[in-house]
């Protein structure tokens, strides 16, 4: 059996090297789409082969011995032990192998660390449970969370077959778009707890930590869509905050930048118009599903002991300004949504919670009111303590 296992192991390891793995039963690390990811892959293969070689030698010796040096075959134990010469040999050889590994590893490490001379910078902020992207060069700014189809299918007992959802758990509403052949510097931080930003095809992951700014860089040569996930446990929806990076040719990227700017302008215009209650409710339902339902639940029932119910909540059915203040500035585990949502989204979701989920207060708030709130009073963390539930 030991031999069979050994055989199986070496066969599969060979299949790794030959790259014959099928798509579904993926076996090996991805080579990725950057020079760095290729270097990492090469390092990985180098060390894998070193391990295979050492493994074959050690296990080969051991199984030869197990087969031949057994009492049932009448083998008599020789009583040799202690040999300084042998001990020195099997200390020196591994040391030399390690030095051989450390040299290429150091080179790659230094390459990865060099964030100098970047052509553009993107700030990535981890939130429970979404990503915020800020293009520091052109002001584009948006949040990226799990797409709706995956979000519906992933609920406990949803009855939706994950296999029927394209890119289940690996698709987002707003992908990060980057140009190819550009050195992009990423700045990483987090708003609440630690997260980790990982796209395997780029060859690395980096933790996003509150109060810290971490750096990393990439240079994608091939246009395409690259998917990844949060890699550091960040609470209950850790498994549901994917990352999608779309690398585009420069022309397409420029067009995307223009469309984003136009979209942001249109969003601003929307905030100035007078919204009907029905319009607010319709938009609020979507905003609620994307931002609130993961804690307060789709029906507003909350989760006992962890997240308060919104249905019948004294905050939601009480003074509207107090509710706006709490959502705007956050409180305890409740994130501050003031900067996360647009004026329109903010007004819509406030209106929605007051008139749906079993509540029927009957009032509403206009995006314009939120806009004036934003311009007059920037979020002030210190006031959080005064909020009453």
């Amino acid at each position: 059996m030991k031999k069979t296992k050994q055989l199986f192991a070496s066969l599969f390891l060979m299949s790794l090297g030959l790259g014959t793995a099928k798509a579904e039963y993926t076996l090996n690390l991805r080579q990725g789409v950057t020079q760095i990811s290729q270097e990492v892959y090469d390092l990985h293969m180098l060390i894998l082969w070193i391990c295979v070689f050492i493994g074959l030698a050690v296990f080969g010796t051991m199984f030869y011995s197990i087969y031949h040096h057994r009492k049932s075959k009448g083998h008599v134990a020789s009583q040799f032990h202690e040999s300084t010469k042998v001990e020195i040999i099997w200390t020196i050889i591994p040391t030399l192998i390690l030095i051989g590994m450390a040299i290429p590893a150091t080179k790659t490490m230094l390459d990865m660390d060099d964030v100098q001379d970047a052509d553009m910078s993107i700030k990535v902020t981890g939130w429970q449970w979404k990503w915020e992207y800020e293009y520091l060069d052109n002001g584009i700014h948006f949040f990226s969370s799990l797409d709706e189809a995956s979000n519906r299918a992933r609920q406990l007992g949803s009855g939706i077959d994950p296999r029927s959802v394209p890119h289940y758990l690996l698709d987002v509403d707003h992908p990060l778009v980057v140009p190819v052949n550009t050195k992009i510097r990423f700045l990483f931080t987090a708003a609440d707890v630690q997260h980790s930003w990982w796209v395997p095809d780029l060859g690395w992951k980096k933790d996003t930590i509150p109060g810290f700014i971490n750096e990393a860089w990439t240079y994608v040569e091939k246009a395409g869509t690259y998917r990844g996930q949060c890699a550091e446990l960040c609470g209950k929806d850790h498994g549901f905050m994917p990352i999608v990076v779309i690398a585009m040719e420069q022309d397409n990227y420029d067009a995307w930048v223009e469309s984003q700017k136009a979209g942001a302008e249109a969003e601003k215009q929307l905030a100035d118009k007078e919204w009907t209650a029905d319009e607010l409710m319709a938009k609020g339902e979507t905003v609620y599903a994307n931002n609130c339902a993961s804690c307060h639940m789709a029906d507003g029932a909350g989760m006992e002991g962890a997240f308060p119910a919104l249905t019948g909540s004294s905050v939601v059915t009480g003074d509207i300004d107090a509710q706006i203040d709490l959502i705007y500035n956050g409180k305890g585990m409740m994130p501050a949504f003031g900067q996360m949502l647009s004026e329109t989204e903010f007004a819509a979701v406030v209106t929605y919670t007051r008139n749906a989920l079993g509540n029927s207060v009957g009032d509403s708030v206009q995006p314009a009111a939120i806009k004036s709130l934003k311009s007059s009073a920037p979020a002030d963390e210190d006031e959080d303590e005064d909020d009453e539930e």
Partner: protein, 535 residues
Amino acid sequence: MSAVVAEHDDHHDHGPEKGLLRWIITTNHKDIGTLYLVFSLAMFFLGGAMALVIRAELFEPGLQFVEPQFFNSMTTMHALIMVFGAVMPAFVGLANWMIPLMIGAPDMALPRMNNMSFWLLVAGALLLASTLFMEGGAPASGWTLYPPLVLQTGAALPFAIFSVHLLGISSIMGAINIIATIFNMRAPGMTLMKMPLFVWTWLITAFLLIAVMPVFAGAVTMLLTDRFFDTSFFNAAGGGDPVLYQHIFWFFGHPEVYVMILPTFGVASTIIPVFARKPLFGYSSMVYATASIAFLSFIVWAHHMFTVGMPIAGELYFMYATMLIAIPTGVKVFNWTATMWKGSMTFETPMLFSIAFVVLFTLGGFTGLMMSVAPSDFQYHDTYFIVAHFHYTLVPASVFILMAAAYFWLPKWTGNMYDEKLGQLHFWLSAISVNVLFFPQHFLGLAGMPRRIPDYAVQFADWNMVSSIGAFVFGFSQLLFLYIVIKTIRGGTGEKVTDEVWEDASKHSLEWTLPSPLPYHTFTTPPKEIPTEHF
């Protein structure tokens, strides 16, 4: 000689107390050893049940059984219970049973403290388990308890922290006792370099425990004050540093994982020579290798944190230092292989488990070497690759060796032989299923599946299903172990074992010179001669 002394000794405590009270007030190292072992086996099944909840949920993509928050509680509690409730206490149990016997001492040096450290362990573990029923659920931030996430724990947080304190005190007491026993109670002629390797590895382990348990206690106390007393040790908004916690935790955590593997090395070095009918190849190099590994364990902690954004000098230093661990670990593996070479081997259950340990621990060592390379670790970190790595070093390594130890010494402890056929069945079921369980997790990690997620993209479905099948076979196979142990205690095969139990075992270590089953009190006078096989 010892019999003569006993006749003149008119203390009333020759035998154990009658009834339940015996187990509560006992100060006898054998009774306390048994308590530890039974308790750890119970915790092994509790932690295993949690693992099966995890593997059941991961059997298929989509959420079928539990909410994500509860899933996170399961991964957290599974780890805490297995580490602090199952593996560590099991080795303390073995230490209690075997160290006095191996060094020719009548008992542990501090028998009352021994009792206390066991019952503190029970209190700590029960407190930890009780958090499952608290408002907001059990801790769900992973066993590393990283802030700020851990500060979002509900009512359970202070209880979990207090239970860590209790478990830590219990471990420190156990460690002090072991050190005091080894330093003061060795038989005449047994110099440090003539101690059995199991005693050596435990001596070093005990120093690791004393060095790092207070560090962990300090870290969780800072969490406590951050949460309840408005300090900001780990709160960046208050001038604190969340990464500081990780440094402190892993300064504890890395030696801590070696606490679970060093005694394993000791047991393997005890069992393999007996069944190879040869002395251990290099006794002194094994001692030095163990000490080197223990020393290195203090200076490599940040390899658990390659992705937190350390300066390049830190990344390189921790990469090089971590690579060094391969050298003494290699020395150990080569030594076991050389011990088997040209032996006269037989393959009873303890030997089978020990050989599987050497092979599968080495596989875990290989993936460890791969992860020491910081640039590659940027890909492996926090994926199923690391889950596969540390489970290889814990389950088919530490747990297999615990099984080997149970089969090896149960006949000595009880005087009854276990059922060899059932033992071998248990071995093959475990050895095959543990690989079906953990080997595919390497592929999942490399393919990009993060750890600690309750649901996954569909391209990970096939290997997860294979892994879950392995998990259930492995889990239920352990019921067979329980059955074999109970059967052995109740009389086993009916065959009465000799004092030596295993052929020529008395050449290797002192316990085999004593009668089987072991009397309640042993070595009331020290042995005159000690085995010299390995020197």
